[in-house]
């Protein structure tokens, strides 16, 4: 590296001089390009070892020439020196490139004007130099044209510096990346992921980054897609993640040790020819999405969260629980306004209590570096078993399979506030409404959740509380006006019919939870839980009375079995039928850039068995015409990411879009290589418009 520094000093030393002779070849004037060979020296002084020369290229507007690593397509300039005299060696030095993008393909090169410095070593230090360069230069606009030029330049014995040529060469030499070791910049993380699908580069610059870019080189057969570049630590940290595009035909092994990095920022450029590799990739700086939100922003997002929470009440997730509350409210007609108010306030408190548990859980999970997101507890078999047990008991009770008379009175409290005593049932109803709301998403909710999850602890607490307030608003309304309850019909014989309807609704919920559990924990665990719960119901029902005194003990055993068994059974492999059912491809992030570079449009659907909003999108939009046929047409690749079970690849993908919940849909295409994210609730128009927008190839220069 000392070698290069010496060389730079060598180039930079020519700043002023006399311009007696023009040290330049005749210019080659092509239709798109003007080329000249220039030298800083006007002549060869005695005992000269090196001459600094340059290939000066001027391009018409819109035309590009390529860097030594041109990207997926393109070709670097080539020079053949046959016919030169007194020439021992020529070293081409490459100024830092600019990134170009067309049809989603990344290219690196130069536009307008560039000088490629040439370090020339003489064979004889006391003889004239004859340069004879056959230049082959590929330039592209929306057409690629090879420019061929014969450039000759003779330097007789003599001295003097051509100031114009010298300053052109010196400027270009300053753009040639210097060694990173000689700069203030330090690489803090360079790592490939285990699957070889991405490279993360993290570097510190004490002076701060402005608009950094990263150009990795990894030999032929491996290219890099568009980088995701983020700044952190008061702009002193740059974090870049680049997808690796391996050739799908040859599938070359990644030769990590051949990695070479070039980092640029404005006119600054450094070269790391052999960076030290780390085992693990660092996470992107969180400060990107919410850099310490101000009070006003926090409050406005909190308002959005309240609206989101309120809308959640009419999403299908919460309806079964509302029905429980409704049933108990009808019975409460005869109660005193104070008791009604207390009951509804307690429900609202139940909602909030669960939201706080969720906030605490999220903070703890984030502290431990675990994946966080909305509704992720539904990926946990134990949580599902617990929820299933309670919903099943509720449903069985509603359907009249048993009356709860357990000595502890626990079940009585859970099943409703029919008695005038405790508020436990009201509290539980509220908490349940909140628990069941989490697998649903609603308009506004995603914005609020994303803000909270990426923010400070205080953001999480405030936003989750606001969500809870929104969700509890209907209860709070009744609490404010207990008289509203009297508007409900009087209890009577029809109540039994209503109970059956509500029980059926709950049974439906239980059925759905079984389906979710099937996907999360596999058939064995699900069947074990189902059997245990069936046994429990049977024991609680009049049929189980024959067991006598052993009854409660057996019932507790069955309940425990239902809760603990799922943890002991290893989940089965996902059934492949899920994927084979339609023309959906399995999510593979590395494939996206590849497909887009071939002109395809990729529609990504992140979904999960437990995500009811996803199911609604699927049934109402994605599986229906016109969207269904738009997704199966030529050149459109629908890709599905199933987040039913925990999956780091999907979690990282969501986080890169600043999302922490699903449904999430994004469309990639030649015109939108970075992807166009869609709203949570899809409509045909939104999907079709995004597909059209992403697909239409946009020409960079027309």
């Amino acid at each position: 590296m000392r070698h290069l520094i010496a060389l730079l000093t060598f180039f930079l030393s020519f700043t002023v001089g006399s311009a007696a002779l023009a040290a330049s070849s005749d210019a080659h004037n092509g239709p798109t390009t003007t080329m000249r060979l220039i030298t800083a020296e006007n002549g060869i002084a005695p005992n000269t070892r090196y001459v600094s020369a340059g290939l000066h290229i001027e391009l018409e507007e819109g035309w590009k020439a390529y860097w030594r690593s041109p990207g997926e397509v393109g070709l670097p300039p080539e020079i053949d020196w046959t016919g030169s005299e007194n020439l021992e060696n020529v070293e081409m030095l490459w100024p830092a490139p600019t990134r170009f993008r067309a049809f989603g393909i990344e290219n690196f090169g130069y536009e307008k004007e560039v000088t490629i410095p040439l370090k020339i070593t003489l064979s004889n230090p006391d003889a004239p130099l004859d340069l004879n360069a056959s230049v082959f230069l590929l330039v592209c606009e929306d057409i690629c044209i090879p420019e061929e030029a014969e450039l000759s330049l003779s330097l007789p014995l003599g001295s003097g510096i051509d100031s114009e040529s010298a300053s052109l060469i010196a400027d270009a030499a300053a753009r040639v990346p210097g060694s990173i070791d000689q700069s203030d910049i330090t690489l803090t993380n360079v790592a490939f992921d285990a699957a070889g699908t991405s490279l993360v580069v993290e570097a510190q610059n004490p002076a701060g980054w402005i608009s950094p870019d990263v150009f990795p080189e990894l030999g032929e057969g491996v290219a890099f897609g568009a980088p995701d570049i983020r700044l952190g630590d008061g702009n002193r940290l740059v974090w870049a993640s680049l997808p690796i595009l391996s050739d799908p035909v040859t599938e070359p092994e990644i030769q990590a040790e051949t990695l070479r990095l070039t980092l640029t920022d404005g006119t600054l450029a450094v070269d790391a020819p052999t960076p030290d590799l780390s085992d693990a990739q660092t996470r992107p700086p969180f400060s990107l999405t919410t850099a310490n939100a101000g009070m006003v922003e926090l409050l406005s997002i909190a308002l959005i969260a309240i609206i989101g929470g309120l809308i959640l009440n009419i999403m299908p997730c919460v309806l079964p629980v509302l029905s429980i509350k409704l049933a108990s409210a009808i019975k409460a007609v005869d109660q005193s306004p104070a008791r009604v108010r207390g009951g509804f306030l307690m429900s609202a408190f139940g909602v909030l209590a669960f939201m706080w548990v969720l906030a605490a859980g999220t903070l703890a999970a984030r502290g431990m570096g675990m994946t966080i997101g909305w509704g992720l507890q539904f990926q946990n078999p134990l949580f599902l078993a617990f929820l299933l047990a309670i919903i099943t008991i509720f449903a069985a009770n509603m359907l009249g399979l048993f009356e709860i008379n357990l000595p502890s009175g626990l079940m009585t409290r859970l099943s409703g506030a029919s008695s005038g005593g405790g508020y436990g049932g009201d509290f539980a109803t509220g908490a349940f409404a909140a628990i069941l709301a989490t697998p649903c998403s609603a308009p506004f909710l995603g914005t609020a959740i994303a803000f909270a999850m990426a923010g400070r602890p205080i953001d999480i607490v405030v936003i989750f509380t606001a969500l809870g307030i929104g969700l509890a608003l209907p209860y709070l309304l009744v609490a404010a006006k207990p008289g509203l309850v009297r508007m409900l019909p009087k209890p009577g014989g029809w109540m039994n019919g209503l109970k059956v309807v509500l029980g059926a609704l709950l049974a439906l919920t239980a059925g759905w939870l079984f389906f979710v559990m099937w996907g999360v924990a596999g058939p064995r665990a699900t069947l074990l839980v189902a059997t245990s719960l069936a046994a429990l119901i049977w024991l609680l029902s009049p049929l189980g009375k024959s067991l006598g005194s052993a009854r409660s003990g057996t019932a507790i055993a069955a309940a425990l079995a239902a809760l603990i068994l799922p943890a002991l059974v290893k989940p089965d492999q996902m059934s492949p039928t899920e994927v084979a059912e339609t023309s959906w491809a399995v999510f593979d992030r590395g494939q996206i850039a590849r497909l887009v570079s071939q002109g395809d449009v990729v529609f990504v659907d992140v979904t999960a068995d437990w995500c009811l909003t996803c199911k609604a999108n699927k049934a109402l939009v994605l599986d229906r015409d016109p969207v269904a046929s738009a997704l199966t047409q030529q050149g459109v690749i629908p890709m599905r990411a199933d987040w039913t079970r925990p999956n780091d690849q999907i979690a990282t993908f969501l986080q890169d879009f600043g999302r922490f919940g699903i449904p999430f849909n994004v469309v990639y295409g030649p015109s939108a290589p970075e992807g166009v994210p869609l709203p949570e609730l899809l409509s045909s128009d939104v999907v079709l418009e995004a597909l059209a927008e992403a697909g239409a190839p946009r020409l960079a220069s027309r």
Binding site: P31, E72, V73, G74, L75, A102, F103, I105, N107, L138, C140, E141, D142, I143, C144, I145, P146, E220, G221, V222, A223, L245, D247, V249, T250, R594, S597, Q598, G599, P670, P697, L699, R702
Partner: protein, 162 residues
């Protein structure tokens, strides 16, 4: 209607133009014939790709081979050609032989001459009837070229490519 395109596997806009053009014979089965001329301007890997595609034509697998190479975003070398040939179920040895056979050599020698004759100086270059379009053309421009062709009374210059 004869459409000729001068193309190179390593040229970005060629890929997208070829893709667009390959749909034409299907859309207009009665009157559109498409001929691709390989003009490997972008270095050695372009030349390898052109040789491979021309050799594949002798096993009636030109279109599949061409399509495969066009989506390969990486430097194409003999190993690459062999793998693609294997994957498409072609006779690998014959393909590698034909890549330097007389037919491939003749085509590769002829393309630059034809291009020079028509003043096609780069890729992609598109000839629809008697109208030459240099560079990438949009959907609208392609339609326009086809309209112009329909109004022509004679289709003389395409004799070069028969």
């Amino acid at each position: 209607m004869q459409i000729a395109v001068f193309t190179d596997f390593n040229c970005l806009y060629c890929r997208f133009l070829d893709r667009k053009l390959s749909g034409l014979p299907e859309k207009r089965p009665d009157d559109a014939t498409l001929k691709a001329h390989h003009l490997p301007l972008l270095g050695e890997t372009s030349l390898w790709a052109a040789r491979g595609a021309l050799a594949a034509r002798q096993q009636y697998a030109y279109i599949a081979f061409h399509k495969r190479l066009m989506s390969a975003a990486f430097a194409i070398d003999p190993d690459y050609l062999a793998i693609v040939a294997r994957q498409l179920g072609l006779d690998e040895e014959k393909l590698m032989r034909d890549a330097f056979g007389p037919i491939a050599e003749r085509e590769i020698a002829k393309s630059p001459a034809s291009a020079a004759q028509l003043a096609v100086n780069g890729t992609p270059g598109l000839l629809v009837g008697r109208t030459l379009a240099c560079g990438y053309v949009s959907d609208g421009e392609l339609d326009q070229l086809i309209r112009i062709k329909a109004e022509e009374t004679s289709s003389l210059p395409c004799g070069v490519f028969s």
